[in-house]
Subunit: 212 residues, 2 copies
């Protein structure tokens, strides 16, 4: 039963998430994790066999539900559109909202999980790259298709580029929001979910729609 996951396993996953997000993969030791989780050192190897497997388990716990939520939201918008293309703003909302709403939910990983995704992209560990490539494949395919339907004047290549730009604008903004905070001397903060969504969707929609 995956819902009645062992308490020790859960404590380890939570502590790992918090510590790795704060210090990075290699800089976080199993001793620090087990101390924070208040479990024995050997519990990690007992429940996850190795440290690498623990990292993978920690990531998979969050990644799969996140992308499922995104795709489900896109499904719903496509259903509501009834055969017609979904508006660019709706596509972006399905892509961004499930992520932004994570921030206000520490129980689902919160900001820590976003930092972890940024770490996965930046630290090209041998076993992480294939993992995220595989885990995001379906999401990427679906949103690319939706964008092409919504903006048929864009070539396939152009659509790839622009979706990449839009994803970059969004992901960098939320994963590294500390940059915005100190650039604006604290005047800009990622607090209100709806405000952030409105701003970033507006920006990206204009970029996606601009003439080639």
């Amino acid at each position: 039963m995956p819902e009645s996951i062992h308490a020790t396993k859960l404590a380890i996953l939570n502590a790992t998430e918090r510590l790795v997000a704060a210090k990075g993969f290699e800089a976080t030791s199993l001793r620090a994790i087990t101390a924070a989780a208040k479990v024995n050192l050997a519990a990690v190897n007992y429940h996850f066999s190795t440290k690498d497997a623990l990292i993978v388990a920690m990531l998979n716990r969050r990644m799969k539900p996140l992308n499922e939520t995104r795709i489900a939201m896109l499904d719903r918008f496509e259903e509501e559109a009834g055969g017609k293309p979904v508006a660019v703003e709706k596509i972006l909302e399905a892509l961004f909202r499930p992520v932004v709403e994570l921030i206000a939910r520490p129980a689902k990983g919160g900001r820590n999980f976003l930092r972890l995704l940024a770490l996965c992209l930046a630290e090209p560990g041998d076993f992480l790259q294939p993992l995220i490539e595989k885990e995001f494949a379906e999401k990427n395919r679906r949103f690319h298709l939706a964008l092409r339907r919504s903006l048929p004047q864009l070539s396939e290549v152009e659509a790839h580029w622009r979706l990449h730009f839009a994803h970059g604008a969004f992901f960098h903004s939320v994963a590294h929001s500390q940059v915005l905070e100190y650039c604006s001397a604290g005047r800009c903060r990622l607090t209100n979910v709806e405000t952030v969504l409105r701003r970033i969707i507006k920006f990206c929609a204009a970029g996606l729609r601009t003439s080639a």
Copy 2:
């Protein structure tokens, strides 16, 4: 004389740049670095005192010239504009071109340096955050001012947000270009500098200009 830097020091810096970009900070050992640089292990501590100081030296070697080039280019555009606001596209070009041109210049760090910057943002080591915050401060201030002059209808807060979005779109795109490559099944590549610049500037200019 900073131009006649010791050969050993230079070999260490180059090896560090390459290896850290490939493996990350903690995963790169001084033994791997000194082996790749073909120098003695103790040479690192002799020339840089500690590993952390070596990392800082490696980053500073590239960061300062990069931001100076950006600001110099903005200076030139402002001079050419002769008192009038610089066009948004020009501001973006001054911000992006010096970075993109790095990619084709392995002698100046190339793609490796971009990976390192992404690592700095993602791995929040205690001594890196203050470093980049200080090193990018002047650049951030100058480009924010230029943008406000160019788009006076934007409030100060709105300008901060949008510049953050634009920088994110660009930086994520070039630092994590492998994502674009596998999303497009290899059809999109960061090869031609001018093509990339034209696309990303077009995208960001539209996002910056869109009505509030």
